[in-house]
Amino acid sequence: MPKVLACYKWVLDEQDIKVNSEDYTLDIGRAKGKISDYDKNAVEEAVQIVEKLGGSVEALTFGTATVKQSFKDLLSRGPEKVYFISDALAEKADAFVTANVLAAGIKKLGAYDLIICGEGSADSYNQQIAPRLGALLDIPAVTFVEKLTVEGNKVRAVRKLGDSTEVVTIEGPAVISVLPEINKPRIPSLKQVLAAGKKPSEELKLADLGLAADEIIPRVVTLSVKGYVSNRKNVIYKEASAADNVAQLMASLAKEGLC
């Protein structure tokens, strides 16, 4: 019976983020946290595998102190236990640091048959965690997965690649990153929400993970994060002839380098 680990990220809900129309800076003062969308698919897939085959499903996350706010939501979705690595370092962490920390955490926790992640996070969407985890743990990583079948230690994954799909068969343990098409995350019932409060959480201290100093120095430094605002030019072509209007439109688009 598989032992499955779902990795997830606690991110700011983009619906609560306001973009300042003057300088495009972000106002996150009223933004609440949420489990990153595709990570909900990862958790759901892990739970469905265990519901079908037996075994156990746990979750792991790395974040700042706010990550603790995610536990009840996460646990109401099915995992039996959540492990967390909470450190201010997470604020500036890039995919390199995050993967190093998660991999060190997984090594400390022991062997898993499957480690499932979302394809990318709702904030930075770097799509790097699964491949990096595969490399760091020295196990196969399969990305862009839209269908997953597990039989014994054999894993069959359907990968969605642009205009084609690829079927991959591997032997576990493996890291899988999933697309939202793979499933529909469940809506926790009231009793599942209430039961989540009774499930355990355990902290893994960053200092105990045996990471070298340079493994937790971000390779990517974020200078600023700005919003994108689509400002319309409100150009109206008023020629009597439609053909003239179309010609003017085409000329404008060509000038902008759009056609």
């Binding site: 009223r30 009231l190 009793k191 989540a196």
Partner: protein, 380 residues
């Protein structure tokens, strides 16, 4: 905005929002149009444990508190006032009365089935000429012997009527001194002599059926009386207070939906080359809607907390009812005003919200009534 809810309450509200988006939103217009009881959604409410939310675990409930119930009503009402009404009449009236005044045997018989959604409950109070149970009830329960009563006449405008399996029926009884008083009885829908009369076609809340319940020599065992003879007035008063708070949450949900719809519309609708949300007159209306809804929500959450703690809540329930009427009506009038001719169209969601909110406000009593209750409390 944040309302000082616990993490658990926030999560319950979030799950209810997801539930409503998944199961109610796609059906809301159809429920309104067809004016039929949405049995499949009622079953889903049971599946997600919403029917037994604040009832004791020993009967299958979740004991999650009345505030959590109000949060769920609010979220469901955003997409369908009808579904919220069905839930309120089932859980905050029929099941509430059973849990509050039922004997152990009555609770064991009915509560688990109501919580699992195997039975739908209704609170049969109104009569033609005796709205809110005030005034003489024409439905009389005549004591036959020590073992049973005979109920006759008819109840009107019973929410969940016709669809319900269990009715709490208020009726006039005679006390030993010959004085008339009110008592409540648990009557199953299949009891001989109980039939469903006219279904009232309503302007809003059309998925929650309002029916006449006809009682022709209905024999009800004395064991089905809820509480002692003469307890009816208290049962009515307290149950309607609890329901007022839930209906306040329903109004918050509907008004919030109207606000969100109006914010979206005012951002997209361009007039004189600019979105109309840039005009001060529109901004004023949007701001007033948001401010009033916020205050009503605070009042609802506070009153719901009082119910949860077992503190007196009759004054606060009346304040909620009064404010719900004011806020609900003004919010929907402004929502339609901002949307102009489109808002008046059946195509737009706000027209349904307008019809639904008026149903919430008129239910059980007119909004003039809570003013009298508030005055009576503060003039002591």
């Amino acid at each position: 905005m944040r309302y000082g809810l616990t993490e658990e309450q926030d999560l319950i509200k979030q799950s209810a929002r997801e539930f409503a988006e998944e199961y109610i939103k796609p059906k809301a217009a159809e429920i309104d149009h067809n004016a039929t009881h949405p049995a499949e959604i009622f079953t889903k409410l049971a599946e997600y444990d919403y029917l037994g939310l604040y009832f004791p675990e020993e009967y299958g409930g979740s004991n999650a508190g009345f505030l959590s119930f109000a949060l769920i009503v609010e979220e469901l009402a955003k997409y369908s006032g009808s579904v919220a009404s069905i839930l309120i009449n089932h859980s905050a009236k029929a099941a509430y009365a059973l849990n509050q005044w039922g004997t152990e045997e009555q609770k064991e018989t009915y509560l688990p089935a109501l919580i699992k959604g195997e039975k739908l409950g209704a609170f049969a109070l109104n009569e033609v000429g005796a709205a809110c149970g005030i005034g003489p009830n024409k439905v009389v329960a005549t004591k036959q012997n020590d073992d049973s009563y005979v109920l006759s006449e008819r109840k009107a405008y019973v929410a969940n009527g016709g669809a319900a399996d269990v009715y709490i029926i208020l009726a006039t009884t005679l006390s030993e001194g010959g004085k008339e008083n009110l008592s409540a009885f648990i009557v199953e829908a299949n009891t001989p002599g109980l039939t469903v009369g006219k279904i009232t076609k309503t302007m809003g809340l059309r998925g929650c059926r309002f029916a006449e319940i006809v009682l022709e020599q209905v024999i009800v065992p004395a064991d089905n009386r809820l509480g002692y003879e003469g307890l009816g007035a208290k049962i009515i008063s307290e149950t309607l207070d609890v329901a007022s708070i839930a209906q306040g949450a329903q109004v918050v949900g509907i008004a919030q939906a109207a606000l969100e719809e109006t914010l979206r519309y005012s951002k997209e609708r361009v007039q004189f080359g600019k979105p109309i949300n840039t005009f001060p007159a529109i901004q004023n209306m949007l701001a007033e809607m948001a401010a009033n809804i916020h205050l009503l929500r605070l009042g609802v959450y506070h009153a719901a907390q009082l119910v949860e703690k077992g503190d007196p809540f009759n004054l606060e329930a009346a304040i909620v009812k009064l404010n719900a009427a004011r806020t609900g009506q003004s919010a929907l009038i402004d929502a339609i005003q901002v949307q102009g001719g489109y808002g008046y169209s059946e195509e737009m969601v706000v027209s349904r919200l307008f019809r639904d909110i008026n149903g919430c406000i008129l239910k059980d009593s007119s909004h003039e009534f809570p003013e009298q209750k508030i005055a009576a409390e503060i003039l002591v």
